[in-house]
Amino acid sequence: MNIVVLVKQVPDTATERKLRPEDNTLDRAASDGVINELDEYAIEEALLLKEKHGGEVTVLSMGPDQATDSIRKALSMGADKAVHLNDDALHGSDALQTAYALSKALGTLEFDVVVLGSESTDARTGVVGAALAEYLGLPQLTLAGKVDIEGRSIRIQRQTDYGHDVVEAELPAVVSVVEKINEPRYPSFKLIMQAKKKPVQKLTAAEAGIDVAKVGLNSAATEVVDAAAAPPRATGTVIKDEGDGGLKAAEFLAAKKFI
């Protein structure tokens, strides 16, 4: 089975993240790039599928040069090879354009299933999986908390607020995963060493057959017109205990309808 796992490099959520003032796109120089957290679950699921059904795991990442670090991380977890879609023309692409570009890049690969995280920690649109399936004309199995493949049939548990739906489709298909699905493994030192020797194919927009008029900031369907920092959290209520501290705390909780 050929499995493609999509990997995105995002700014480290532990550091301060900024937008570039000139075009409201991400300031990648301002913070360290790390692999999108949910993508680690996608990689783990891809590796588990490979361990169960055999085949190969290919990493596909769209991003600038520094995305190489996240590709290496995916390879050091155990993926077999990688394709890096990297082109200045792609800068500023929104979620729909990204899905389009990824669909073209996937057109250069043979695959039975595409696995991706259900959203990224930076833009958090959560639509790339669905849009990608539309562009590819393939079934979309989103928000998967469990994946089972039998023959050419794939069945997932789609996590919902009320529990889960069981959704089934024929391969090939696109699967987006939530963090409930597994526990991502750590890279091992041996795999880190081997990762250096694994092939990473560079792909330009033209090589992928991407119409550059349809991607990038200028033709994006959505535009970030403004951004504001979240207001600092208000300081809490301080109760001074003058013998009635317990009562006051209870009154506070009752007023908030906690008790």
Partner: protein
């Protein structure tokens, strides 16, 4: 605070990054509760083993990581700073692998090392006895040769009787690297041999772990050998050469203790610095008082010096040069530094430093054991002093 490290290769930098990640995500959240409950974290050793950390300084052809001591020791330092039970455990395991790796026959290495270094297996090092600590050559556990045909294998082999004390991983290890007397009682250093004994050997059993001042999640126990049959093929090195093996292993093991001590000291320093920045008294952070900042400056200087000293010894070792005296200096200085710095960190933190809510008091209790293990610091001074006078 991340320590700035000069590493010899890009792969070493990635290894340290992996070690840092494991330390923060797997060790840090569990250390305090693990020590309180005194439960050995076997699963954490499996996790770091699968990540490839349990065989770092041994050759890749036997399943090791092929890393120089300079790199391996910095991994020990990173893990020890978050949880000494794991950092010291890594050092002890690596020590237990040393005799087979350095003194084993090609056949023994090929047979034993892949399992020992592969990550699923954990070792213990059995040298000390109740009446033989610093005076290791006085050990009395007997390995009696059995006549060919009567013993555990065709070549005869040995029957081992005795008890080993203060054994880290006693009762939880998968294999025991044992030093026992093959010569007559009183035969001294020349009558000792080294053996590789699997935990499954009949007659091998550990007592309940000691109740210690710190390092409680790491079991320290008496391991008893009650007529344990050991095949001749499990003897590492020539008969009677075991003490040489033990001392060579300890030279390297001391570096592991030095690195662990630096990790503990660095963790205490980081806590103290953070507290000195946050804690305000008399209208300003206490770090602005010279009495505190000078203390921090001395702590930081000693930690940095201790790190450079163990790295200098490691680089000598990696270059194939004699390093035993330098290793003794590194062990002595780094562990004395850890004791002083952790004590000072508790002082900087004041009352909160003395509570179990913060790791400062735990680090202070952990530091103490490092001045004792792998040769007390009095023995280190003996080693250094002897070497000085020999050179004259």
């Amino acid at each position: 605070m991340a320590v700035e490290r000069r590493l010899p290769t890009p792969e070493a930098a990635e290894l340290l990054e992996l070690a840092r990640e494991l330390a923060e995500k797997e060790l840090r959240p569990r250390a305090a509760e693990g020590e309180r409950s005194a439960a050995f974290p076997r699963d954490v050793f499996r996790t770091i083993g699968r990540a490839g950390l349990l065989g770092l300084p041994y050759p890749e052809r036997y399943g090791g990581g092929g890393q120089p001591y300079e790199v391996y020791l910095q991994v020990v330092e990173e893990l020890a700073g978050e949880w000494l039970t794991v950092g010291l455990g890594l050092s002890v395991h690596t020590l237990a692998c040393f005799p087979v790796a350095e003194f084993g026959t090609e056949e023994q290495r090929a047979e034993l090392l892949p399992g020992m270094l592969g990550g699923e297996s954990l070792g213990a090092y059995c040298l000390s006895e109740a009446h033989s600590g610093s005076d290791a050559a006085a050990l009395s556990t007997r390995a009696e040769a059995v006549a060919p045909g009567a013993g555990p294998d065709a070549a005869g082999g040995y029957r081992v009787r005795g008890a080993k004390s203060w054994i880290t991983h006693g009762g939880v290890a998968d294999f025991y690297t044992l030093f026992a007397r093959t010569g007559e009682p009183g035969s001294g250093a020349g009558g000792i041999s080294c053996f590789h004994v699997p935990a499954s050997a009949a007659g091998l059993a550990a007592d309940p772990p000691e109740h210690k001042m710190g390092l409680n999640a790491s079991p320290t126990a008496v391991v008893r050998f009650d007529d344990v049959a050991v095949p001749a093929g499990a003897r590492i090195g020539a008969e009677g050469r075991g003490f040489t093996v033990a001392l060579a292993a300890l030279d390297s093991g001391r570096l592991g203790i030095a690195a662990g001590a630096v990790g503990v000291a660095q963790a205490a320093l980081d806590l103290a610095v953070e507290h000195a920045r946050q804690r305000r008294q008399f209208g300003r952070p206490i770090g602005e008082f010279q009495g505190v900042s000078f203390l921090l400056a001395d702590m930081a200087t000693q930690v940095a010096a201790a790190r450079e000293l163990y790295l200098a010894a490691a680089r000598l070792r990696d270059a194939g040069r004699p390093f035993g005296t330098r290793a003794a200096m590194a062990k002595l200085f780094a562990t004395d530094t850890a004791m002083r710095v952790t004590t000072d960190a508790v002082q900087v933190l004041g009352g909160s430093g003395y509570t179990a809510d913060l790791p400062a008091e735990r680090l202070m209790r952990e530091a103490k054991v490092l001045q004792i293990v792998e040769g007390t610091n009095q023995i280190q001074r003996l080693v250094i002093g002897r070497d000085l006078l020999r050179q004259g």
